[in-house]
Symmetry: C2
Subunit: 319 residues, 2 copies
């Protein structure tokens, strides 16, 4: 049986019909903007449209951004999509779509996607970090998605790595997110650009506001100022990952999200910190690599988390 | 059926016959000093002696300090008991004791003890931190002990909370262990004593070298210098715990080990940091409390991790 995975983000809703082998048969996108009623309407529309005329869809899973309270199927806090907060999503949506619906956190769904179909498909212990505007996380341990007591678990981005560090979007200081997200990279870049006006990064900063993508672009062309920015972000990423390696003893750490296009420029300093800070045997086992599913990890992972309402098992099987 | 739990520490071997309800029927202690042969001999002796004449012992579990490689039943690294390193323990011991033997990490066993019989006996998501000379950790998530790929998981003490902080026994800098263990507390105390010679702590420091226990003792009597030391350690403990709360979304965090006798003097500042740094709903759910089993958690938890060799299940049941 197939399943529909829906990935609700800050700007768009992506819904896909997925086969148990992880092939997306069809996909549609809707905007996620507008008031709550419109958001819910567009989610229903996306599911109906993508499922129309496709046989054998057993269930749907909706991956939502923010902190989930699973027992109530609602998002307690979602900084990038405030309109989704505190709606009992299953109750509101299930009758409209006529299919069994499960709600999951988006970063956890993306991790599950990598576990079933991507960078972690051959292991039982996977850690996924998604570097974008923020830093998302998901952990699979012993083949089981770590949801925590309320479904709010896996928030790897909000672990303090620098107690007196810069303010994070969550209100805390020095979270991993505040130290290696796209936002943090842009912040480092502006500081470095001001110090090194002769660099390519410095010259660009005079013309316009630097964003994360600029840094990767210039670093690839060999600009040393831009390279030092990725080095800084990668170092902090590695400081965070080293702790997770000690805690989870994972086989693979997959780094995804828009920032991960920087690839080795970011991962090499991260690996160096892991080598320095993590302990054997965990340190020697773990492989740190770029996630392989790209932006489809959310839709794929959500589909693989859709459940058969009778057995309670995933439609695609697995823990 | 009963099981024997053996807790091997830096100075002693404690072996107990435990009932499925968590009652210790009999317990013996042997020293863990001496060369590897003597250590192994004393482990065998302890198990034979404690099990003598007791009916219905189904299996044994040995809880060992240090970083385990489960597949090889050996400890890769054990700073407090070097003599146990790299011995294939099951192969060496099982024939001698004539009972099925499992090997587990000591902090994971202590956490499992609290989960089955102590501070976490009513929850499915428990985090255990043991504050002694070092900082041990154990995590139960969805009712399952988090062992990681090699059995080396759960090392909560070796997560970096202060990237440029003091050197940890593991070689890294600013691990949670380096910031809130008994060793860290003694280090803070010596600094504070030097700055405040008029305090009770300062006066004691002139007479002899301060140890962790002195600090709790003096803090209880109201010495403000000693109180500020526990405040510092509790704050760092809370910085670490806040991250774990976001990652694991646990119902209970149990703080055990010799340092935990400081109780609220340590836990109050830790809770304050969690309130500041962790996110809802996890922040609002979690209860931080002192572990309830005391030094017996290792023996109790080990017994509850002993396995029936035929079914592979725990003799006492559970995940």
């Amino acid at each position: 049986m197939n399943a529909i995975g829906v990935d609700v983000g800050g700007t768009k809703i992506a819904a896909g019909v997925v086969t148990p082998e992880g092939r997306i048969l069809r996909e549609v996108r809707y905007p996620s903007s507008g008031p709550p009623e419109v958001l819910l309407e567009n989610i229903v529309r996306a599911i109906r449209e993508v499922g129309r005329g496709v046989d054998g869809v057993a269930a749907v899973c909706l991956a939502v951004p923010g902190l989930l309270v699973s027992a109530e199927d609602r998002v307690a806090f979602s900084p990038n999509l405030r309109t989704i907060e505190n709606i009992p999503l299953r109750k509101a949506l299930e009758p409209e779509i006529g299919l069994p619906l499960t709600i999951e956190n988006d970063a956890n769904a993306a991790a599950w996607g990598e576990f079933r179909f991507g960078a972690g498909s051959e292991v039982d212990h996977l850690l996924c970090v998604t570097l974008g505007t923020g830093v998302g996380g998901g952990v699979i341990s012993h083949g089981v998605l770590l949801r925590g007591a309320q479904g709010a678990g896996g928030e790897l981005g909000h672990v303090t790595v620098h107690a007196t560090g810069p303010r994070c979007a969550c209100g805390n200081r020095g979270c991993l997110e505040a130290m290696c997200s796209g936002t943090a990279i842009a912040r480092y870049a502006r500081v470095v650009a001001a110090k090194r006006p002769e660099s390519a990064l410095g010259r660009l900063a005079v013309r316009r506001r630097i964003i994360g993508e600029d840094v990767t672009e210039l670093a690839r062309r060999g600009d040393r100022a831009a390279l030092s920015v990725l080095e800084e972000a990668g170092t902090w990423l590695g400081i965070g990952l080293a702790g997770f390696v000690n805690v989870f003893n994972p086989e693979v750490v997959a780094v995804g999200g828009a920032v991960s296009v920087a690839g080795e420029l970011l991962l090499a300093p991260a690996r160096r910190e892991i080598a320095l800070r993590a302990r054997p045997p965990s340190r020697d086992l773990v492989r740190v690599k770029v996630a392989t599913l790209g932006p489809e990890s959310g839709v794929l992972g959500a589909a693989a988390l859709a459940r058969d309402p009778e057995s309670g098992e995933y439609v695609f099987g697995g823990g």
